[in-house]
């Protein structure tokens, strides 16, 4: 392989409130490497960590990078970024690259779920966030796991065997956390609470309205808690498909935009 051919890779970094994600993208938008790490207060350290891990995964080095696209809550903290772009624009670009058609995209990240109308050319035509009070769904799930005394990754397993969801308010993430304790005291099972928490998130998204088929979902919550997508499907009474590797959709979009800039 010629050295200049190898250089045609870019990185995309999605520095979110719960996780930092990075992908290494080569010719034709093919993902060569990926990595994810929990967000800690030292954003730059997190970015270095995932970027190094993604480069390792792709068997590349930093010198192979033709550009770095950054998005997400802490996109301003990505060292060496050649481009920054909004969450909505990057998730739309990433999902469109993989699906190849117009769609309603529900991005459920750790902060504020949003609905993105992806146009025929892959651009974001419209985007809407959930209310301020209903945001913070990642932290809400962490609190839920803490109240149930399980690791967050077990929530999905618990929810998948629940007969019915416990009634967990969807108005405000803090109210919802308190409601979980109340339901537990009333005797709700851990399984019902876990499923109730997923329904609570889905309800906040349903209130955004404006869903047009096909509906796709992406984001970290979708990656780790697919029960939220199932709850959304139930409440919307329509099919909701998942974008492949949903946690990396934003990072992929950022990488594609960086590649566009580099060429």
């Amino acid at each position: 392989m010629m050295p200049d051919e190898r250089a045609r890779v870019v990185a995309g970094v999605d520095a979110g409130t719960e996780c930092v994600k990075a992908v290494i993208v080569g010719a034709g938008g093919r993902v060569e490497g990926r990595a994810v790490a929990p967000t800690r207060g030292y954003f730059q350290a997190c970015v270095y960590e995932v970027l190094s891990a993604a480069l390792d995964d792709a068997q590349r080095t930093e010198s192979d990078l033709a550009g770095i696209g950054a998005t997400g809550f802490a996109m301003g903290c990505v060292p060496g970024a050649t481009l920054t772009a909004t969450d909505a624009a990057c998730h739309a670009a990433g999902a469109y690259h993989l699906i190849g058609q117009r769609m309603t995209l529900v991005n459920i990240g750790g902060r504020d779920p949003h609905l993105i109308a992806v146009a025929l050319d892959g651009r974001r035509a419209d985007a809407r966030n959930v209310r301020r009070c209903a945001a913070g769904v990642g932290s809400f799930l962490m609190f839920t796991a803490r109240h149930l005394d399980v690791l967050p990754t077990r929530l999905q397993e618990l929810a998948s065997v629940a007969d019915k969801p416990a009634a967990v308010s969807s108005y405000c993430s803090v109210f919802s956390s308190t409601a979980i304790l109340e339901r537990l005291r009333e005797g709700a099972s851990r399984e019902e609470i876990a499923l109730g928490a997923m329904h609570s998130i889905a309800e906040r998204i349903v209130e955004l309205g404006g869903f047009e088929d096909p509906v796709y979902a992406c984001g970290g919550v979708v990656e780790y808690f697919p029960g939220v997508v199932r709850a959304l499907q139930t409440l919307l009474e329509r099919e909701v498909r998942t974008v492949p590797d949903p946690i990396f959709t934003g990072a992929l979009g950022a990488a594609l935009k960086a590649m566009e800039l580099a060429t």
Binding site: T178, L181, E207, L208
Partner: protein
């Protein structure tokens, strides 16, 4: 513990059921939607069947259907922060749901005209305009002054002219001419109903109180939806007789009544029973309220129907400024001899929440009695925490008992 149920409630169910079923016969007469304190007498005088969507929304709240259907209205762009009556009702319509199905209706009755009065809020107008667009029918109403210090003759004249201006459209839609004698008759019946309902509420000044605010929110149904109809008067005559008998024989709505409270603000429809039980567990009777008293219209006068309707709508508590509101509550506190005031801060109904400009603090200081602010909502139960509510009530009752003991000690 709560006391025995009112035996009149069986008649209440029949009276309300008969009204709801009559809405299903709407092909025999035009239907007008009316905001709760809109010009219902005028509509009745013109032969309309009158539907009150706020009553319908309250039914959705009480049946706890509201939270299931509100997201449908939110998805249409109607915010979570606006009137949850509006979002419950529009959401239910879009979902094809209504508690009126129990009375043979498949949907809310389709309006031929919608008539609002903004003396309570702007939301009623926005609500009616949604249906107006849906059905392509006229939406008319009265744009009333608000936050009034003293109701002046000019205020009354302005609203009276607006009520008169409704007549041509209402006549055109109904095909009937307004008969002044008929209007006077309807206003007289409405006045009688108001008087009887006020007398029923007044019986709770007795110790022990024969019924509570929570009973009142159910018993007020005819005063809301059958204003101007003889059926409402007939019902309240029988209810009044039962309540007076209870006073005479000292039948208590709350067994072992030891504390008495005043309630300001909207009910939490989905938590009426739970709250009634919470207070009763502590031997506390909520004996009077701004809400139930809002359907007493002493200004109505058959000799001057339209001007008296205008005056009644302007004198309404919700339309007044802070000082007359405080004077009103002060009168109620004295009349019902209460130990404290509960203010409901209704999240989606700022106009009916008197907690946000320091009224509880001012009144507590002025009257020397404690007050409690309960955060909640009329229909959106996501805004109310059972746990927090109960803890607050428990602490408040404890405080009231201490306050009373120290007053006695002094």
């Amino acid at each position: 513990m709560t006391g025995p149920a009112l035996s009149s409630t069986a008649t209440l169910r029949e009276t309300m059921g008969s009204y709801y079923r009559s809405l299903g016969d709407a092909d025999t007469a035009p239907v007008a939607w009316c905001s709760s304190v809109g010009p219902a007498e005028l509509l009745r005088a013109l032969g309309y069947r009158v539907f009150f969507p706020e009553n319908h929304a309250a039914m959705l709240g009480a049946a706890r259907t509201a939270n299931r259907v509100m997201p449908i209205a939110h998805a249409q762009g109607y915010s979570q922060d606006i009137c949850s009556y509006l979002t419950s009702d529009i959401g239910a319509y879009l979902a094809g749901e209504t508690p009126l199905k129990a009375y043979g209706l498949t949907s809310v009755p389709r309006a031929d005209v919608l008539v609002f009065n903004t003396n309570q809020c702007r939301d009623v107008r926005d609500w009616f305009e949604w249906y107006g667009r849906q059905w392509d029918v006229p939406v008319i109403g009265v744009r009333s002054p608000r936050s009034i210090d003293t109701v002046t003759d000019d205020d009354v004249e302005g609203v009276a002219r607006q009520i008169e201006a409704l007549v041509p459209t209402l006549e055109a839609v109904s095909g009937a001419r307004l008969d002044g004698a008929r209007l006077a008759q309807v206003v007289a019946i409405s006045r009688e109903c108001s008087h009887l309902w006020g007398a029923c509420l007044g019986t709770a000044a007795a110790r022990p109180a024969p019924f509570t605010f929570f009973d009142g929110t159910i018993q007020m149904g005819p005063a809301v939806v059958l204003r101007g109809m003889e059926e409402a008067c007939a019902y309240y005559r029988s209810l009044l007789a039962e309540l007076e008998e209870r006073v005479r024989t000292r039948v208590a709505a709350v067994r072992g009544e030891s504390l008495r409270l005043y309630w300001d603000g909207m009910p939490l429809w989905g938590r009426l029973r739970a709250l009634a039980t919470n207070f009763a567990e502590f031997g506390t009777a909520v004996v009077a309220s701004t809400y139930c008293n809002s359907w007493i219209f002493p200004d109505l006068d058959a000799d001057d129907p339209i001007r008296s309707m205008a005056r009644a709508s302007l004198n309404l508590f919700i339309a007044r400024s802070e000082e007359p509101k405080e004077q009103y509550i002060e009168r109620m506190v004295r009349q019902f001899d209460v130990d404290g005031i509960v203010f409901h801060d209704c999240r989606t109904c700022p106009n009916n929440s008197n907690t946000r400009y320091a009224m509880p603090q001012r009144l507590s200081k002025r009257l020397g009695i404690p007050s409690l602010v309960l955060d909640g909502d009329v229909n959106d139960l996501r805004c109310y925490s059972d746990e927090q509510g109960r803890t607050n009530i428990e602490g408040f009752v404890e405080q009231l008992a201490d306050t009373r003991a120290s007053r006695r000690g002094a």
